[in-house]
């Protein structure tokens, strides 16, 4: 593992075996999560963002999903050990899940158990990873965490049931719960997609503040380019189970190399520029069915620059500048392109 990374995903292949057919949900996904930084993962629905995250947590739906290949290396800061999460016995994985790697989800309305108070649910997370702690200490910790995430009157709200809170507050509770164990990585899977922009801004601000306060890495998964632009240090762009481009945030937004990244950026109307009723260049066509992906480069049916080679062979990943990689025949060397 690279010294500056806390997590490295290497060549991950995940397949779903369903009644409707076989879906290769991930096909050689690799990305690194740098320590104390935020990695933004963007892409449209179904491209495999959540499946990658769930693979890290080892929470893929069983028995349909199978990890066919790959490694997920995690550096345990306490012991300094590097461990491949995919080889870990379930017992051991439980000490990492929710403790060293926490995750929050898209739907704050349904992510909390309706029959227990939010306090109970936070205490439970604290106690399972700190068996020596007393019930009372766990409750104090829960109140402290609710306060940290900006819930007013936490001593009172700790006894609320989830339905007594709004969506924004529940997402704060989820964050409080996820951070109550001081994790090294927080995986946030579309944490603000279901929320209003004003509440989204509050939650993102909170995550940034807590990252500084607790010193952790964040994997911020979203389909909203604006969200990652202002909250991530590095970006990975996914399309149909592959990472098509990876780069530091500025390069992705100012100098995108992959036609898909370029198309995504050209799809969103912007507050800072663009005229009224102007045509949005965007991307033509629609996502191919995951059961029946096209041959060659998966993006070629929608790519304005596609040429013959794109239709038959998948492009390899090439590094075009330090930390900036892209999978596209346009950016491979001339000789490999026409061989």
């Amino acid at each position: 593992m690279d010294k500056s990374n806390i997590l490295e995903i290497k060549d991950l292949h995940v397949t779903f075996y369903t009644e409707d057919g076989v879906v290769r949900a991930l096909h050689g996904v690799s990305y690194d999560v740098p320590e104390n930084e935020t990695l933004g993962v963007v892409g449209e629905s179904g491209c495999g963002k959540s499946v990658t995250a769930l693979s890290v947590m080892r929470l893929l739906p069983r028995p349909q999903a199978r990890v066919e290949q790959g490694e997920i290396w995690f550096r345990d800061k306490d012991t300094g050990e590097e461990i491949n999460l995919l080889n870990l016995p379930e017992e051991h994985m439980r000490h990492i899940r929710g403790n060293k790697i926490s995750m929050i989800f898209q739907e704050p309305m349904t992510a909390l158990n309706p029959v227990y108070t939010v306090g109970d649910q936070i205490e439970e997370a604290v106690l399972i990873h700190n068996p020596k702690m007393s019930q009372k200490e766990a409750r104090e910790r829960a109140i402290e965490m609710l306060k940290t995430v900006g819930i007013p009157a936490p001593e009172k709200r700790v006894d609320d049931f989830p339905h007594q809170m709004s969506g924004g507050m529940r997402q704060r509770v989820m964050i409080a719960m996820a951070l109550s164990t001081n994790p090294e990585i927080l995986i946030a899977d579309e944490p603000t997609t279901a929320l209003d922009v004003t509440i989204q801004a509050q939650i993102l601000e909170l995550m940034n503040k807590l990252q500084e306060q607790f010193g952790m890495s964040i994997i911020l998964i979203t389909h909203n380019l604006g969200v990652v632009a202002q909250n991530a240090d590095k970006i990975a762009v996914m399309y149909l189970g592959r990472i098509v481009e990876k780069a530091p945030v500025r390069e992705i937004f100012h100098d995108p190399k992959h036609p898909y990244t370029e198309g995504l950026l050209a799809s969103v109307p912007r507050l800072d520029k663009g005229g009224l009723k102007e045509h949005l260049p965007g991307i033509s066509g629609s996502l191919p069915s995951p059961y029946n992906p096209p041959p060659g480069c998966k993006f070629h049916p929608r790519c304005p620059y596609a040429f013959d080679k794109c239709r038959v062979e998948e492009p390899p990943q090439v590094e075009i500048s330090p930390g900036h990689t892209v999978c596209c025949w346009l950016h491979t060397k001339e000789e490999t392109r026409h061989e």
Binding site: E44, V197, N224, G226, V268, R270, K277, S286, L287
Partner: protein, 325 residues
């Protein structure tokens, strides 16, 4: 907005909608959800009016009121100068074909047991006396208009992607050649690249067919991209109302400014003053006194807690409901 009245297609005056809250089997009315509370606006022919606001601010309710899909509590909705809220339903029925709606959810708004052709032809059967031949021709025309292919007419909704279903919804809304369309978050459920395609399609159709739109969205970037004029709602009340430039270049209401500053911009180097709103939208059952926004307004004074600000014209056609605008 002080233009010649003959240009105005839809005029809404002081529209109010309260939903009574009832409790129990024998329980009486225990209060009202003040979903829409005195809203006025005009939509000119060929104009898109954008409606924005946080969840629960009353956007959908207004959309349904102006189409008379739900009864109103008070106020007027004038379509072509005729008050459609006051007239008999039987008289209103023939006017319905001039006013159509496109829904947010392309998955649930199409009947799964009807073919696309049947779905699009349905309003034609109900409202016109077209022959089967004419109907078929019109369906093909409509499919072409929304860039679908004629052979799609024989397929069922589940065979289509989200973007294609939204196109079908648009074709259905256009079947009767309406002059006015309410689009309630027509792109929010779609993928980014598909959002762009549908946005382009709507703009194109609006220009070509000279349609008027009431366009509901919570994404201000989309509103800025599409709408000629904009109405900012908060708790069922108008906070600010003006042209695209009024709202996006010189907004005067702190709520509009806060909304704008919360929109994520896809540029890591974009800098601006952020107004981070505290708290959340209060309950419309028991809205705050004075200015309804005062509980979250960073500039609120004592006056704001007691006095309701009136919607003032701060520049021609630019209206703001704030004591300090």
């Amino acid at each position: 907005m002080s233009d010649n009245n003959s240009d105005v297609l839809l005029e809404v005056n002081d529209l109010v909608k309260w939903f009574p809250i009832k409790r129990g089997f024998f329980g009486g009315v225990q209060g009202n959800v003040k979903a829409v509370d005195g809203v006025s606006f005009k939509i000119k022919k060929g104009e898109i009016l954008g409606l924005v606001g946080e969840t629960g601010s009353g956007k959908t309710t207004i959309g349904r009121l102006v189409l008379r899909l739900i009864p109103h509590t008070k106020g007027q909705v004038l379509f072509d100068g005729i008050d459609i809220t006051a007239m008999d339903y039987s008289k209103f029925r023939p006017m319905k074909k001039d006013m159509q709606i496109i829904f947010q959810d392309p998955y649930s708004s199409l009947n799964p047991r009807m073919t696309i052709g049947e779905i699009i032809a349905e309003p034609l059967i109900v409202h016109t006396k077209m022959s089967t031949k004419e109907r078929e021709k019109r369906v093909y025309e409509l499919l072409e208009l929304v860039t679908l292919r004629p052979e799609h007419a024989r397929r069922y909704p589940h065979e289509f992607s989200g973007g294609q279903r939204q196109r079908i919804g648009i074709a259905r809304a256009l079947a009767l050649k309406p002059r006015f369309i309410v689009a309630d978050e027509p792109i929010s459920a779609l993928d980014v690249s598909i959002q762009a395609q549908i946005t382009n399609l709507l703009i194109d159709l609006q220009g070509r067919l000279g349609l008027s739109f009431l366009f509901i969205a919570h994404d201000l970037s989309v509103i800025k991209h599409m709408c000629d004029s904009v109405l900012v709602l908060y708790l069922g009340k108008v906070m600010e109302y003006g042209t695209n430039a009024d709202i996006f270049q010189q907004s005067r209401h702190p709520y509009t400014q806060a909304l704008l500053s919360a929109v994520p911009v896809p540029d890591p180097d974009y800098k601006r003053d952020r107004i981070l709103l505290q708290g959340e939208i209060p309950s419309p059952i028991d809205p705050p006194s004075g200015c309804v926004f005062h509980t979250r307004c960073p500039y609120a004074t004592d006056k704001c807690k007691t006095d309701v600000p009136e919607l003032r014209e701060v520049a021609p056609g630019h209206l703001v409901a704030c004591h300090y605008a």
